[in-house]
């Protein structure tokens, strides 16, 4: 009896969602497809956006694509962006607002080999440290300033090969990405010393969902529907990591990006930590403290000249 109800109930739901007139929406990612965006791909694949009335188009990011630029130029309606990036863009005059802060903690690490003898960030003084360029460099530089040390900074491309070949003593790495690449090159976790910026009051929240102020004025419901569907997508991805990995790999293959399951699974599981953390009631929340911490650091680093208020910047749904 129950089985019958379920069988009949499912088509009913899907048919009814078909009936609603779908609104087109373009979504640009801040990087190439990978587990970092698993929730959106899963939500898309599982029809969650359609369910919420959105006919979504996902635009892959990449080295040459700036989501802020896409929003500005109207090439996309909605995008993901680092909080620090978005704040800088806003300060530069681009009227974008945060409607959900998905990654609430920082995944950025500085990694060294144990055998290098570096035990605390202070030991990095005068050492060769490769760090990612751009917004990835904000936290390390803030930390070095704080500790009053001057490591020899080497610009870091997308890889950790400098570190793996021993050309640098320490490297920056995202916990969900490059850190696993190091492990996948045959280095064991117990051979590494890892400094997380969360431990030094520099845990910048990362990926958030952004739209322009104009968009939110006109399509607040749509933006909120997007957030809802995205959260559902992430929840499903965390509940079914194998399925999520399959979906992500499918999109990576489509984009011609080298991919392997273990790396993408790792990525999804690590991202689960920063989205849900200890407490899943606050998914998508940008706390005022975090916002203030980031904006202060950006100001100190003279990366921004004016400060947008929390209320202006953060426009959560509900």
């Amino acid at each position: 009896m129950i089985i019958l109800v379920i069988i009949f109930a499912f088509p009913t739901i899907s048919f009814s969602s078909q009936d609603v007139t779908l609104k087109k929406m373009k979504f640009v990612l801040q990087w190439l497809p990978q587990g970092q965006f698993a929730g959106y791909f899963v939500g898309f694949e599982k029809g969650y956006y359609r369910k919420h009335g959105i006919d979504l188009e996902i635009i892959n990011g990449g080295p040459d694509i700036s989501p802020a630029q896409y929003l500005k130029e109207g090439k996309a309606d909605i995008s993901t962006m680092w909080l620090s990036t978005a704040i800088q863009k806003r300060a530069e005059g681009l009227n974008i607002v945060n409607i959900a802060q998905m990654f609430q903690r920082s995944s950025l690490l500085i990694v060294t080999m144990k055998k290098s003898g570096i035990k605390t960030p202070k030991d990095l003084h005068d050492k060769k440290v490769s760090i990612f360029d751009g917004d990835f460099a904000i936290q390390p530089k803030a930390l070095f300033r704080l500790l009053n040390i001057t490591p020899q900074l080497i610009p870091q491309s997308a890889t950790v090969n400098l570190f793996l070949r021993g050309a640098v003593d320490a490297t920056s790495a995202m916990r969900y990405n490059e850190y696993h690449t190091i492990l996948s090159s045959g280095i064991n976790e117990d051979e590494l010393t890892v400094f997380s910026f969360n431990d030094y009051n520099l845990g910048f929240p990362e990926d958030g969902i952004y739209v322009t102020e104009g968009f939110i004025k006109q399509h607040r419901d749509l933006a909120c529907a997007f957030v809802k569907a995205s959260i559902e997508g992430w929840s499903r991805a965390f509940a079914n990591p194998d399925e999520a990995v399959d979906i992500v790999l499918k999109y990576m293959k489509k984009a011609g990006v080298p991919a392997n399951r273990s790396h993408q699974r790792w990525m999804i599981m690590k991202i689960k930590d920063v989205i849900i953390g200890n407490n899943d009631t606050n998914i998508g929340l940008l706390s005022k403290d975090s916002y203030q911490m980031v904006i202060n650091e950006l100001f100190k680093a003279q990366l921004i000249k004016r400060m947008t208020t929390y209320e202006d910047f953060y426009r959560p749904c509900k």
Partner: protein, 642 residues
Amino acid sequence: MQIDFLKSKGIAFRLCLVFSVCGALVFSLIILTNYLYSRQKTEEQINKEVNATVSSAINKVESVLNAVEKVPENLAMFFEKNRFEEHEIKDILCETLKRNPEIFGLSIAFEPNKFKKDRVYAGFYCFRKKKEIVFEQYGSDSDKYFYQDWYQLAKELQSPQWSEPYFEEQTIMSSYSVPLYRNVDSKRQLIGIIVADISLEWLSDIVQSIKVFQTGYAMLISQNGTIVTHPNRKLIMNETFFSIAEEKNDLKMRDIGRQMLRKDSGQFDNADIFDTKAHVYYSKIPSNEWRLIILFPSEEMLQDIKKLNLIVVTLAITGIAMLSLMSLYVAKTITRPLTNLSDITEQIGKGNLEIEMPEIQGNDEVARLSDSVSKMRFALKDYIAQLTNATIAKERIESELRIAHDIQMNILPKTFPPFPDKAEFDIFAMIEPAREVGGDFYDFYLLDGDRVCFLVADVSGKGVPAALFMSVTKTFFKVFANNAQMPHHLLDAVNSELSENNDSAMFVTVFCGILHYKTGELYFANGGHLPPVLVRKDTPPTFIEMPDGVVLGVFRDYKYETAKIRLQKGDKLILYTDGVTEAMNDKNELYDSKRLINCLKITSHMSIQDITKNLMRDVRVFTEGAPQSDDITVLCIDFKEQ
């Protein structure tokens, strides 16, 4: 239990079992040895083959890589000494590229402001596009080439470096970067990086062409463990050795990978990586420190050994079966005649001596046994015939002896009281003959002058001779008794007759008495006999004093003597033979004269019939069923009180 079971199974079965078990043991040893040996040999051969394959492949790869390395290295030396303008650089790069077909592209990238003081980005690249050679310049704010791996690795490590493999237009590539230095103000300064890009298709081809026997294959991993070539193309560039291990949650495989990257070469036996158990060999490619890995599935290696073993096992089973059959056959040829012989001897045992003997050929143990049985059969036949005859003869003799015995007993007086009209005395006698014909006898006769003569005699020996001698003696006594005045006359006469022609030295002991039954005077003579007992009222029974006298029948001229006593009324005289005193029980004790006296003491008041019967019973009780070896004779004479 088991041994009993085996024993019950017969020689053929046991022989067959023993041979089979021994055979199985021997073959098992052979199979085991063969297995271990062939396995070792196969492994040695495979190791040899694989090592040869590995080193030849690495040499091939090295020769190409070394040739490639020379190009940017030479260019670096060239650029170190000379400064060139843009068009010159183009010519140098493109000309060099033209002459080195193994290279895909050649490039020189300068440090900021090192090509020209006011020029930050200066990258020159000559590469192949289809069949053309194309020249390009690169570098801009959005293309900061000096932050790229190929640039940074050579720069930071200050030495030529091979890059990790990368994809470029569906082709796996790798780049060899050589740092370019120049002395500026007597200081060695980095000017830029010269880099050669090569396609790794040829490398994949070399690696993929490696085949070890049927299923062995090769793969290549980079310094970081990235899969560069593998029969499964999906893994290439997507996976690293360690990501595969992680996906399989296989810490052992991860450990194997780490060891491979740490050491120059080595081997893992029966490593379970890439979904098959395999012998894994690895070796470093010296130039770029990648690792060539050869996997040789254990199954194939074992297949040959298994095949060989199957043959050996089949041979062994066949061998054991043949051994069993042959031992069964041999055993049967031995035991069949034995079984036959066994049947025959059983028949013989049942008495069938006429049974046909089988013909046995040859001169082995069985033939000899058969011969013996045959001889035994004839011997038995003869023996049985003899025995039958002997038995017939013996039975005849025995029956004759029985008759003789009966006759002998019959000639003794059996009627008691013998002289019922004589009130003065009474005589009672009993004889208990031994199984054989014996030599005892007694007799009594009335003589003239109110006399009665009585005697007890014992002929030496037993059997027919004794019986005959007894008959003769008895007859002599009877014949001579009437003429004898005194007992010694009688003994003299009988002795004289018996001694005549008595070569066998048979003799007879005799006690002979003549009683004047009116007066009680008793005259008696002794021929080597035991003394009679006098039972007199109020006096213990005593042996009477006897004159000397030798046994009768030996000394012809011997003169016997007569003694005399006077009996009182009521006296009883008990005569007996040595069957009484020498009656023996099963403890080899003799009844002897003491027991005789004791018995008579107890029975002295009784009648002579009861005294005799009691004495006989007492002897029987004493011997308790021990076989009676001699006649027992008792004769009592009672000089009645009236």
